[in-house]
Amino acid sequence: MSGHVAPVRRPLITGSKTYHQITEDICRPTETAPSLSWIITFIISVLCLGLFAFSVAWTIWVGIGSWNLNRTINWGWDITNFVWWVGIGHAGTLISAILLLFRQKWRTGVNRAAEAMTIFAVMCAGQFPLIHMGRLWLAIFIFPYPNTRGPLWVNFNSPLLWDVFAISTYFTVSLLFWYAGLVPDLATVRDRASGLRKKIYSIASFGWNGSAKHWQRWESLSLILAGLATPLVLSVHTIVSFDFATSVIPGWHTTIFPPYFVAGAIFSGFAMVLTLMLIARKVLHLEDYITIEHIESMNKVILLTGSIVGVAYLTELFIAWYSGYIYEQFAFLNRVMGPYYWSYIGMMLCNVLSPQIFWSKKMRTSLFWTFFMSIFINIGMWFERFVIIATTLARDYLPSSWSYYVPTWVEICIFIGTLGLFFTLFLIFTRVAPVVAIAEVKSILKSAGDQYIGPHAHAHHGHGHHVPAGANDHAAGTTVDIEDKDDTEIH
């Protein structure tokens, strides 16, 4: 297992863990009673979910007129929230698929939770197009099935239909990928459980027994699913951007949209992963598995994608000016200085300027600033979608029909409600399944554990064996002085 490890690699698992300790640490949250903070957060989430049910029921009962959409602005918070959630749903598959292909070992600490987050975020995203239909019970019409209306088929040339296929394929493949990875870990939980829990986990773990042939097929499956999911994840947000880019609205009809949307999606997804993981590692005591190394790696991805998004914003403005086409120029001038100038400022500030602090290693490795930035980016990426959708529509071709849009309480409650749905599902997940991929973490222990590599490596588990969980943050946070100790031999 061990093989050669480059000397620049820092440990990804701290606390001199043994295989059994890894099992203990990661299974513990599923085996103990929930903490008070979990219960309080869960109650708040469920209340928000109740708000979702109420406001959706209100929308269906009263009709879409309960939203502030009008003939000019026919997409508002609904599609803004849809794109925001789909974007968040991109990080999980990116981490599990693309980073698997690139053999990035740090993915093992965060891939499970990130994939779960992906699935829940896509579920939240899916709510908006469904509710937006107004007649929810006719939602089945979006699928091409033999029907008694002709049969009348759907329009396969429409990007909105491509979206249906992209999102449902993405959801299905993410779910299969996630669950296939979960099966061996659920078997670990099963073999530690007794009574009813053992029965439930026996069913959930599909009878996994860890035989060599099964592992071989499992690895083969993971690799091919990663290969399939990589173009898939890029295609999904490309197709979401086609919803806008293939229309003939100035400000939307741009070829830059697909790469710009994909970078933005990865950007916002990583921000949400960081928000969740920073809380989860603290609450579930997983500091040894989700280390400062992991957080720093993710902050580097955030810096890269945030800068790509920034370049895209500026390119848009430049091309609008360079096109010499006054309607295009007006659309972008309006975007920056029109009635929604405040959302453009918010977007630029949160997405482009503030992530630049991550050029500094001190900032990248600071838990406070990482958490602060992750929230900031989530807000900024929401503003981006709002800027693209509402500001463009608010000033359309006919000045007589120009309008200004503010959401009603129903739209606001639906959005808060999807946050409730998301956190309810995520909190349940942290209680019932291992939040970190146990088997995958074990498989990198000998090449990424701190007793094998890094400045404190020692072959025979001697000194510094029991580092208290809290002390690791401090130890890892001050990695700057590791450079001095690099001459420590790996025995």
Partner: protein, 182 residues
């Protein structure tokens, strides 16, 4: 073995190791001694184990390719049939058979079919699924123990003693005996 009869099942003699390096060495020793390993169980995929056990490379990717091809042809073929035969409609003055517009859905269906087909095949050939109960020898195998199992059903006392000596020699932490359904 104690109270065991051949008709009720198979008698599995297995040793548990606490490290994958010991496991790999033990498998090599078994190969050298021409011992017939029945199965090896590990808590995580151990690289380098497959060639020692003589496991052929998995052919799951072939299944993935076949299912993906079916999805691709089905998606493109279906859209072609709908828009050229069943119900041709002109959208925005474009041809009935507007190939570029079919690419996104064709791609999505290729991925969907490949993934769903391959995962299904994986669970079927491994005999895994809700309610499946394949042989499980020890609870710590999914935790931190690496297991080498021999089928001792038809072995005599001397052969069993040989295996026990082999386990002791290769550093097995413990040796167990379990009767499993045939």
């Amino acid at each position: 073995m104690e109270g065991f009869t051949a008709t009720t099942g198979r008698n599995i003699l297995f040793g548990l190791y606490d490290d994958e390096v010991k496991l790999l060495d033990a498998v090599k020793a078994a190969n050298a001694a021409h011992l017939d390993i029945d199965e090896v169980y590990t808590p995580f995929p151990v690289h380098g184990l497959d060639p020692l056990l003589g496991l052929e490379e998995s052919r799951l990717h072939q299944a993935g390719f076949i299912f993906g091809s079916i999805g691709c042809l089905f998606g493109f073929g279906f859209m072609t049939w709908v828009f050229t035969r069943d119900w041709p409609i002109i959208f925005g003055g474009k041809p009935y058979w507007s190939v570029p517009a079919f690419i996104p859905i064709t791609f999505e269906l290729t991925v969907l079919f490949a993934a769903v087909g391959m995962v299904t095949v994986f669970y079927i050939i491994c005999g895994l699924g809700p309610g499946a109960e394949p042989r499980r020898l020890h609870d710590r195998i999914t935790d931190d123990k690496f297991c080498i199992a021999f089928d001792a059903t038809d072995l005599g006392e001397a052969d069993v003693d040989d295996l026990k000596a082999y386990f002791a020699r290769t550093g097995a932490e413990s040796v167990h005996n379990k009767v499993v359904p045939a």
